[in-house]
């Protein structure tokens, strides 16, 4: 019996020829990412060395990436002090893959990692952020871990006591209608298998629809795999992946895509056909409370958010700008746009997307996560409703337990910003 992508990657990284779901392995880590919660990792890391007389040194500073994105620029003196501590730690440890608060190379961690070519097919990527699953879009095994486990990784360079997860095969066929895409597909999948549907398992995406999808769309699938409970969400690397890494991310060295064996042993198969898929909306307060847009149309919204590690990429801003160009955001509704990285921000500026969005009434923010998790800008008022291209709609998520958050695609968000109510972009949008 053959192996899935996750099994092959874990076998290689653990020095084994074969691994099976349920085996326990201790694989080498290729890349370890943290954002501001590196402050907590540093505490735990220093704890490991307490009383040993040894100077704390990370196992390999070249394999650690630190990116400030959760509260940027700092919203409080506490955050600023934490960021200062991390900056000093990076300098002291020689961690030079460090993305500070900058307009030239800053951004959201899950955009910076692919954009700067840190992630390669076949790697094991861990990050102290649940949406680290994003990087499975490049054919890596990428997963979120906590601060204590990361401190152990910083020390040893391996993951301790990792269970080999079973893999669910997701086969997607058909062609999306205009203004329907990757976000609608992943919301539909989460609604179908529920928020616990892939707990302790890997989602592996296949089928012609995924093969035709650009890396930006694949990142959406992998990013939100964690919302179905998945340990990782993998799109096996193909020519499109390699193209992206060479042309967009500037990777020069040889790349080796990992393909699943033809006789790989999957936990189960989930099939989705997208020809008739309508825009999908995740309704309050769980991500698996997913409905077709026809069931929630006309819901009044006070805030629209386009951005985040899920949908703040250039093609997301392009589709939003194409819908909003020459039109106005409805009175009583505010549109807040967070490009996912400085590079995207600049390109969106050069291509005129930001001008079109601003002329429609949108407020353009600097790249960051703050609004999505409700810690920095863009909070909701009591009784207000938001429609967002972000990834979570938990109660209180956008900074107010008395607010509601609906999740959608950038096209749906843009079309709805114009009307002030949830609107099907296939009718409300123009081409």
């Amino acid at each position: 019996m053959g192996m899935t992508v996750a099994e092959k990657i874990l076998a290689r990284a653990s020095g084994k020829t074969v691994v099976r779901p349920g085996d326990v392995v201790e694989p080498r880590v290729d890349l370890a990412m943290s954002h501001e919660n590196a402050a907590l990792v540093i505490n735990q890391f220093q704890d490991i060395y307490k009383g040993t007389g040894l100077e704390p040194r990370v196992w390999d500073p070249d394999r650690i990436v630190i990116i400030f994105d959760h509260r940027v620029p700092a919203e409080s003196s506490k955050t600023a002090t934490n960021q200062k501590k991390i900056r000093e730690f990076c300098a002291g440890q020689g961690i030079w893959h460090f993305h500070d608060i900058r307009g030239d190379e800053g951004g959201i961690c899950h955009q910076i990692l692919p954009e700067y070519g840190y992630v390669r097919p076949g790697q094991i990527v861990v990050g102290t952020d649940s949406h680290t699953t994003s990087h499975g879009a490049l054919g890596a095994l990428a997963m979120g871990i906590g601060a204590t486990e990361m401190a152990s990784v910083w020390t040893l360079g391996i993951l301790l006591n990792l269970e080999v997860p079973a893999t669910i095969q997701v086969a997607v066929t058909g062609r999306f209608q205009k203004f329907v895409g990757a976000k609608d597909l992943i919301l539909h999948l989460i609604g179908k298998i529920t928020a616990k549907g892939a707990l302790f398992k890997v989602l592996e995406f296949h089928g012609p629809t995924v093969e035709r999808m650009e890396v930006s769309g694949r990142l959406v699938l992998s990013n939100m795999s964690v919302e179905a409970g998945a340990t990782a969400g993998i799109v096996p690397a193909d020519d499109r992946t390699l193209d992206y890494l060479r042309k967009d991310a500037g990777v020069r060295e040889p790349l080796k895509p990992v393909k699943p064996d033809p006789d790989a042993d999957y936990d189960r198969l989930v099939e989705i056909h997208v020809d008739d898929l309508e825009p999908q909306i995740a309704c309050p307060h769980t991500v698996d409370n997913v409905k077709g847009i026809s069931q929630v149309e006309k819901t009044r919204i006070q805030q629209v958010v386009i951005g985040s590690c899920t949908n703040g990429r250039l093609d997301d801003l392009a589709v939003a700008a194409s819908i909003l160009k020459g039109r106005k955001v409805a009175k009583g509704t505010r549109l807040i746009v967070f490009p996912a990285s400085s590079r995207i921000y600049r390109k969106a500026m050069e291509r005129g997307y930001l001008r079109d969005l601003m002329e429609s009434g949108a407020v353009i923010m600097n790249p960051g996560c703050g609004c999505c998790l409700g810690v920095h800008q863009g909070a909701l008022g009591d009784g207000e409703t938001a429609l967002a291209t972000t990834n979570r709609n938990f109660k209180g998520r956008m900074g107010n337990p008395n607010g509601d958050v609906y999740l959608c695609s950038p096209a749906t968000a843009a079309a709805s910003a114009v009307t002030g109510v949830i609107t099907d972009p296939r009718q409300g949008g123009k081409s």
Partner: protein, 185 residues
């Protein structure tokens, strides 16, 4: 592993990390004792009133003005701890005095955080304990034997074995596990 006795606090399905500790509170330091105890005060403060202490609800987990909860054992439904990787979630529960959680299932990152930091014991039960146990009932958990006794109702429930992570739980966290295996000096 010692017996754990205490009052039950019962929660529903899909209790996410924003309910366990809302993100805007994550500014408190974990290495400063006076700040760390704030997490005890705020534990489960994001749970909607209707789901706070089932079956009736509207039972605050931590009383106003206190940093510790009266409840020692959480009983929850499926997918407990879904959402963020924030380790503050198990820390908040631990700081409030939680010594064990018995749930239908867990989100992986939360589960591993709990085990790696040795904050409390996360056990799974195939029975629907959310319908069986009421907030405030007295429980006794024998983690070694995998048995939960409801001292109030007299009923007994069998827990699932810990499985792959038993070694880390027994060692007392991932650092202790690494030392035991001579990985850390």
């Amino acid at each position: 592993m010692a017996l754990i006795e205490g009052k039950a606090y019962v929660l529903g399905h899909d209790v996410d990390t924003d309910q366990i500790i809302p993100a805007h509170h994550l500014v408190y330091s974990l290495d400063d004792e006076s700040e760390r105890r704030e997490y005890g005060h705020l534990a489960l403060s994001g749970v909607p009133e209707s789901g706070a202490g089932l079956p009736e609800g509207k039972k605050p987990f931590v009383r106003e003005g206190y940093f510790q909860s009266d409840y020692r054992i959480l009983v929850a439904g499926r997918n407990f701890g879904c959402g963020s990787s924030r380790e503050h979630a198990p820390v908040a529960l631990h700081t409030a005095g939680v010594r064990a959680v018995v749930a239908g299932s867990y989100a992986r990152i939360f589960y591993r955080n709990t085990v790696d930091g040795a904050y409390f014991i996360p056990l799974e039960c195939r029975e629907d304990l959310v319908r069986e146990i009421r907030t405030g009932e007295n429980l006794r958990l024998d983690p070694e034997a995998g048995l939960l006794d409801n001292l109030t109702s007299g009923k007994r429930y069998r827990m699932e074995p810990l499985g792959d992570v038993a070694g880390i739980v027994e060692a007392g966290g991932i650092f202790a596990y690494a030392r035991r295996n001579k990985l850390f000096r």
